[in-house]
């Protein structure tokens, strides 16, 4: 194994931020996501001989990460699933930087989607994969991927409309806290 392609590490590095964002969306919290990315990097490194340079490293890495995630989930059982508050909490740490205030509600709605629909809409809408690539990553048919994305979209639209005013629970509280000094 002396003919190590030097650019493998480089290609890995370029993909890491996006891979990590996908991991966060799967795990819903960043510490778990970082562990998952780390496991993925080690797997990928060990398997790099099976990767052909010049082919789609991003899709290859996403596939490894996703397989790893679901195999860990199966091992641990579903108890690792967090309630939908965690990611939202974490987002609210730096809302101003990204104008993310209203993204808290969006994230909550996203977390309410079934896993297969959530990952589908993220791979297509945010990670920038084609339906064909996303279908390959998720080991499903292209048609299945399309229908998952479409159902996810409809569901999100419904949830966001419903969520609009009434479901303001924690946000209303934090709004009160931040605007607290109204009291004279």
């Amino acid at each position: 194994m002396t003919d190590q392609p030097p650019s493998f590490k480089h290609e890995l590095l370029t993909t890491l931020p996006s891979l990590r964002a996908f991991a966060v969306s799967l795990c819903r919290r960043s510490d778990k996501a970082d562990d998952l990315v780390q496991d993925t990097v080690m797997k990928a490194w060990a398997k790099q001989a099976s990767f052909e340079l010049g082919t789609n490293i991003k899709a290859w890495l996403f596939t490894i990460l996703r397989n790893e995630f679901y195999s860990q989930m199966r091992k641990r059982g579903r108890e690792v699933q967090d309630s939908d508050g965690v990611f939202t909490e974490r987002l609210s740490v730096h809302p101003s930087q990204y104008g993310i205030m209203d993204l808290g509600d969006f994230k909550k709605a996203l977390d309410r989607l079934p896993d297969d629909q959530r990952e589908a809409i993220i791979l297509i809408g945010a990670s920038g994969f084609s339906y064909e690539e996303a279908a390959e990553i998720c080991h499903c048919a292209v048609g299945t991927m399309k229908s998952r994305v479409s159902r996810a979209r409809t569901r999100l639209q419904d949830l966001l409309q419903v969520t609009g005013e009434s479901d303001y629970g924690p946000d209303a509280v934090s709004a009160q806290v931040t605007s607290g000094p109204n009291v004279r």
């Binding site: 990315v37 780390q38 969006f106 297509i124 809408g125 920038g128 339906y131």
Partner: protein, 67 residues
Amino acid sequence: MRDNKLMNAMGSVGRRRDEELGPNSDIGNKLRALYGAVQEEGIPPKLLELLDRLDEAEQRAAKPPTD
């Protein structure tokens, strides 16, 4: 309608993003904002160290034995 065509021409060069989640779509934009926020956090140092260690270990292994 003309706007849609323009958006398509601008937004999907060489890329096949779902039109319904394209730059015109509120959901699409929010998805990307959320995703982008995590992306911009950068790579945790722990991971960079791991990559360096893997790289080093490999280079050491690749060297011919010294004796």
